[in-house]
Amino acid sequence: MRYLYYPGCSSEATGKAYDISTRAMMDKLGVELVELDDWNCCGATSYFNVRELDSFAIAARNLAIAQKQGDEDLCVICNACYTTLAKTNRYMAESPEVHEAVNGALGAVGRAYDGTKAVRHVMDVLINDIGLEALGEKVTRRLTGLKVACYYGCQYSRPMGAFDDTEFPVTMDQFFQALGAETVDFAGKAKCCGGMMMLTKEEGALRLCHELLKGAQDGGADVIVCACPLCEMNLEGYQPRVNKTFGTSYDIPVMYLTQLAGLAFGASPKELALDKQVVPCDRVVAAIPA
């Protein structure tokens, strides 16, 4: 199996661990990831604030590169990158004006894109292409006894709803169950963490994270797994600030889904960049039977 791979801007900074662990996990699964040549920022949510067609066009630049680079689907790890690229495809398909403008803009830099490169979230690839059964067979360290709260965040299944329910997604839960873990169903699994608002209006985002952490804690979670660098940063990096602001004492390790999954498939904590976490994950790693 082979996929074109779009790491996203965070993978070079705060979200480094996500990229590292994805590559390590896919390596253990025997899936080849080919990084997109000279990829640019997808624009995420911020670019849409300024100009719509530009947003689509710069996102489409990546898709144009992908189309030229190979026939394989484009695997994306970050929720926001996934939604932005998939949204570009959808709007190009639904609106001839968008399609024309995007191709005109790409033409100005010697590129073209017909709107057909399939954009896949890494979880979609795991569940639907590799399949739960095959994944179960590749597990070398079952996550038995570990209570995992799967945090999907907003842009995992919204607005596309392409491979999971927009209100109560279940694919990540099914994935971790196949790896032997017990999953915690909590009300906030697909609710917003605040995203960029953590910088622009901190108290709002902190409150949202407080609700998410409470849900996970009420469910008895040992660890929260995320699919987006921003979500991970907010829940993990800002956990101390949530505690300070609301007088709570949350102490829940947070990691990327590929980090926890990577452990199940036999990768070492070092290979999965688990030494890069702010809230230490040692006790989670220790809890997994050898």
Binding site: D54, I58, M197, L199, P240, V278
Partner: protein, 195 residues
């Protein structure tokens, strides 16, 4: 921000706004909003807004552009899409919020001291400068201009992130970074032609 001094100015702006919103894909659907309140009820940040998304749509339809641009609503939208997937009229409210942000920036009506518009601007600048969003550069710029307190709030975490290598100081540029400027220039020229 520019004050909307006269009624006729506000009316002209409303017509312009109206055309802008109607021209975005799916924009005309705000005409069928039945003001049910699902969007505001679903919005994770509506409790912080002076006017919820439902009220912004009502104000827009009533021509109360003043209220729309002076409110903090659009800048508090986190693009979680909850409203969009639940709206019974099928209105793409998140896209509408983006459109209103774009309009506010285009007509220079965004709050000058606003943090969110500034963040957006730095983001776009960073992307065009490097081809990718350089997170440290973004945060540094933001802290220096908008939030002196941030470094102190962030200190403990920041240090840990830095030592973990998650805050690289230098960014490498992509080879095709100039392409992004060319793309923007092309689209700007097209827009000018259309007008």
């Amino acid at each position: 921000m520019t004050e909307l001094a006269t009624i006729s100015e506000a009316k002209k702006l409303h017509r312009q706004f109206y055309e802008d919103v109607m021209s975005m894909p799916g924009g005309e659907k705000i005409k069928i909003c039945q003001q049910c309140g699902t969007c505001t009820g679903s919005c994770p940040t509506s409790y912080l807004m002076d006017w919820g998304p439902r009220e912004i749509i009502a104000a827009f339809r009533a021509g109360m552009i003043d209220r729309v641009v002076k409110s903090n609503t659009i800048w508090l939208c986190t693009s979680c899409y909850s409203c969009t997937v639940r709206c019974p009229a099928g209105i793409k409210i998140t896209d509408l919020m983006y459109e209103l942000k774009r309009i506010a920036i285009k007509y220079d009506l965004a709050p000058k001291d606003g943090k969110s518009p500034a963040m957006t601007k730095y983001f776009v600048d960073s992307v065009h400068k490097h081809g990718r969003n350089h997170e440290v550069e973004l945060m540094a710029k933001f802290m220096l201009t908008k939030d002196w307190g941030l470094p102190f709030k962030f200190a403990g975490t920041g240090l840990k992130l830095f030592t973990a290598g998650r805050l690289p100081l230098f960014a490498k540029n992509i080879k095709g970074k100039d392409e992004l400027d060319k793309i923007s220039a092309y689209l700007e020229a097209q827009e000018a032609k259309a007008q």
